[in-house]
Symmetry: C2
Subunit: 299 residues, 2 copies
């Protein structure tokens, strides 16, 4: 089963204690696609500007990502510049230039309307809505957002939460949307807003999954090598959704396995700048690290 | 196999968003004993003052804790007062009165010298040393400490680390003793200081275990009900050491199972003030929550 992902394609400039990288290919939809492509066919819905390098387009095509709905608009590609210090857990945003993202209206092909798995990565919830309105009858719709939209477009975001299957939040977002500090209480609050499942990403501390009936908690894959965590959350979501799309079910056992695949995918992402590592990954690499992860976690 | 635990017996005054409790029975050795007693016979080595209520002595005796080396000295029992706000992760210490702890010199019986499992809970490393000097040939010696001793008695603490099997630290302590932010690197640094195994407690984020050959990571048992986290780390250590003492081996599988028992023991501790919950626990409660925990974690 294919996946359709809506989100940003970006030029990322990132400084970490390991160095500086300028205008790397990045963005929420791109990081998501880079891990979900290992499981299934991934259709990208995003916009780039006239400055977007052809080499980046070829880079995506070579990795099997379907670009039928990658819009090229006049103007500049969305740019993000950020810095990580000390603990590498929190990005300090240095610059955000929306460029062509400011007037983005997602368009998809007739064939893409019937795709059953949809990931609405972090963009304006009104853009997420306009894409979802175009879909026929998706089986799973997962949505990610960010604090900016929680503050500035809360009503739009909350309307979207009534329409999605899975809300993917990080711990701060879950707390800020519900006003609950305890993450299980926050997850309960989010479930009451509409989604059947809630997934709370805790960065280096792993992930919590909650539905009405189930609760799972997995630690991150411990790694000594944290080079650049940008996109780890979307890489996680890509592994998670990719696995669910491939097995074409959302039983508790499938969800757990999907969480584990998301976790190991994300662990590769942080070990190098941008897509350096995830763009070279194979399913064999994921499987091999999943075996290591089992040794680390299972008792 | 019995366990000998050296540490504090305290009168704790704790304020949390759930209320205020004054002069509860507490202290590192007491919290440790309350969970380790479920697995094996526990010998307490601690000092209390003339103000220590007889009812607390009876409370401990009734729970099977062996008090042959609980010293009663002239003066006041060690008192700690602390407050938790918001996230309940960090205690704000309001008062520490050492009382009789200031001149504590642990004494044990001849029979206790041959106990094979020793837990040196958080007290002055010089007191930990004087106890360890009295032991014949312990099989496992685990040591806990705190930032105060890392700052003020670093050489004594580092000498002790050369003599112990397991160093039990929290994340801040591991970072402060090694200067490494990444916890795996910190664990590596701690292993180089002497212990064969290092256990890093991360509070609500669970625990990491490292030896030269193995690395395990387990999340905390997720709970909505956090009333008072005081003593959770020692309760964890009690479950961990208790299990290892009972099975009388320290294979990787035994260590993992011990980590899981420590985790569920600690989850009971935080659900009530002081010892309210752990003092009523049975092995059946632990087993039952361990089954729940398996559902939450295993994939």
């Amino acid at each position: 089963m294919s996946i359709l992902v809506l989100g940003t394609a970006a030029l990322d400039t990132v400084r970490t204690p390991s160095g500086l990288r300028k205008k790397m290919l990045g963005g929420s939809a791109i990081h998501f696609a880079m891990s979900s492509r290992l499981f299934t066919r991934v259709h990208l819905v995003a916009v780039v500007g006239s400055d977007f390098p052809d080499s980046y387009v070829r880079f995506l095509t070579r990795r099997g990502i379907i670009l039928d709905s990658l819009l090229r608009a006049q103007g500049k590609t969305f740019q993000w510049a950020g810095e990580y210090q000390g603990d590498l857990n929190t990005a300090i945003t240095k610059k955000t230039e929306l460029g062509v993202l400011a007037s983005f209206c997602p368009v998809i092909t007739a064939a893409q309307r019937s795709i059953r798995n949809v990931f609405l990565a972090n963009v304006d919830p009104d853009i997420q809505r306009s894409l979802l309105d175009r879909m026929d009858a998706p089986r799973i719709v997962a949505l990610d957002s960010m604090n900016y939209w929680i503050r500035n477009k809360r009503p739009s975001l909350k309307r979207m939460l009534k329409r999605v299957t899975i809300y993917v939040a990080n711990d701060q977002e879950a707390r800020s949307l519900t006003g609950e500090h305890n993450l299980l209480k926050a997850a309960g609050g989010l479930l009451r807003m509409g989604p059947a499942m809630v997934l709370i990403k805790k960065g280096e501390h792993g992930v919590i999954f909650c539905s009405d009936k189930h609760m799972f908690s997995l630690p991150a894959f411990p790694t000594r090598k944290v080079i650049d965590p940008t996109g780890a959350g979307d890489t996680f979501a890509g592994g998670f959704m990719g696995y669910l799309a491939r097995v074409n079910k959302i039983s508790p056992a499938a969800v757990k396995q999907a969480l584990a695949f998301g976790t190991v995918a994300a662990s590769f992402n942080v070990e190098a700048f941008g897509l350096d590592k995830t763009s070279r990954l194979t399913m064999k690499d994921l499987d091999s690290r999943l075996r290591q992860y089992r040794q680390v976690v299972l008792f």
